[in-house]
Amino acid sequence: MELLAQNLRRVEAPEELWDRVMAPQSRERPRRVGFWAMAVAACASVAMAGIFYRPAVNSTDPSAIRAWVKARTGIEVPLTDQRRVALTGARVVKGRVEIGYKSGTVLISRADGRAAHWANYAVDCEAPACALCHS
């Protein structure tokens, strides 16, 4: 099919690819070198966040929190209204969004400076928080 060959043709790789390969391999190394240390730290941070979390906006309404976050950061967080996990609010700290729910927080931060696409954000959460967006 000519159409496929035309529209699936090879393209040039972005110039940043080399830099990303040569940069400190932050996406691979932590998993190998300090996996258990990171796991312990992550558990501790989630627990601490659950204890000390003070939201800037107090709300259990996903659409209200979604709109609040969007207005302040431009980040569209697809919180759903299925109530498996109870929301408590949200806040923005140093450009990082923290969505609070009953037993912890979901942390969202820019992974780089590019356009507002979800792939450019990093998300840190533990399993129950997935239910905030997924049914």
């Binding site: 090879r10 393209v11 690819l17 792939a119």
Partner: protein, 178 residues
């Protein structure tokens, strides 16, 4: 495009020679990125995949034992990474499909139409089963023959032919091509 089957370059990479790795990277970067882009339809995800593939090359080139051609081995690494990525990121990409803001190019009508058609094709490709999609990408992005695809994917030529044939039927329907 340089075809590298130079044992010296690969041997250099094995000993940590940065120039050898750069030569390898230059020869294959477009191929690796293109396969990832055509498979995922997402430049950011494709960049992640390409980065991982070259990191694997950098750190694990010792796993290439020279039993198959280097190109075949590399394609296999890319294909496995694409299929693996699908499993890990499927939920996220589905959720945020609507949010992606592509940087659209200038306004010439032909460019617009070309982009539109490219997007239509990419969308149609995205709806194929992963096993069909990767074969379509290897066939049309890389121009590989059935035998080579079969070696990379690890199936028979007959399976490649039937998956490609099935993919053609589906794409014709979706793109309304006569």
């Amino acid at each position: 495009v340089t075809v590298l089957d130079d044992h010296d370059v690969i041997a250099g990479c094995r000993t940590g020679d940065r120039e050898a790795f750069r030569a390898l990277f230059d020869a294959y970067q477009d191929r690796v990125y293109s396969i990832a882009l055509r498979y995922t339809g997402d430049p950011a995800q494709a960049l992640d995949i390409a980065q991982d593939v070259f990191l694997k090359l950098l750190n694990h080139i010792g796993e290439y034992r020279g039993l198959s051609g280097f190109e075949t081995w590399l394609y296999r690494v890319v294909v496995n990474r694409c299929l693996d990525d699908r499993r890990r990121l499927r939920r996220w990409t589905r959720m945020f499909e609507g949010i992606f803001e592509s940087a659209s190019e200038p306004s010439a009508l032909d460019q617009l139409l070309r982009h539109e058609m490219e997007a239509r094709v990419q969308n149609a490709i995205a709806m194929l089963a992963p096993e069909q999609r990767i074969i379509v990408v290897l066939r049309y992005t890389e121009g590989l023959g059935y035998a080579e695809i079969a070696r990379i994917v690890g199936c028979s030529e007959g399976t490649v032919a039937s998956r490609l044939n099935r993919a053609h039927q589906l794409l014709k329907k979706r793109l309304k091509v006569r």
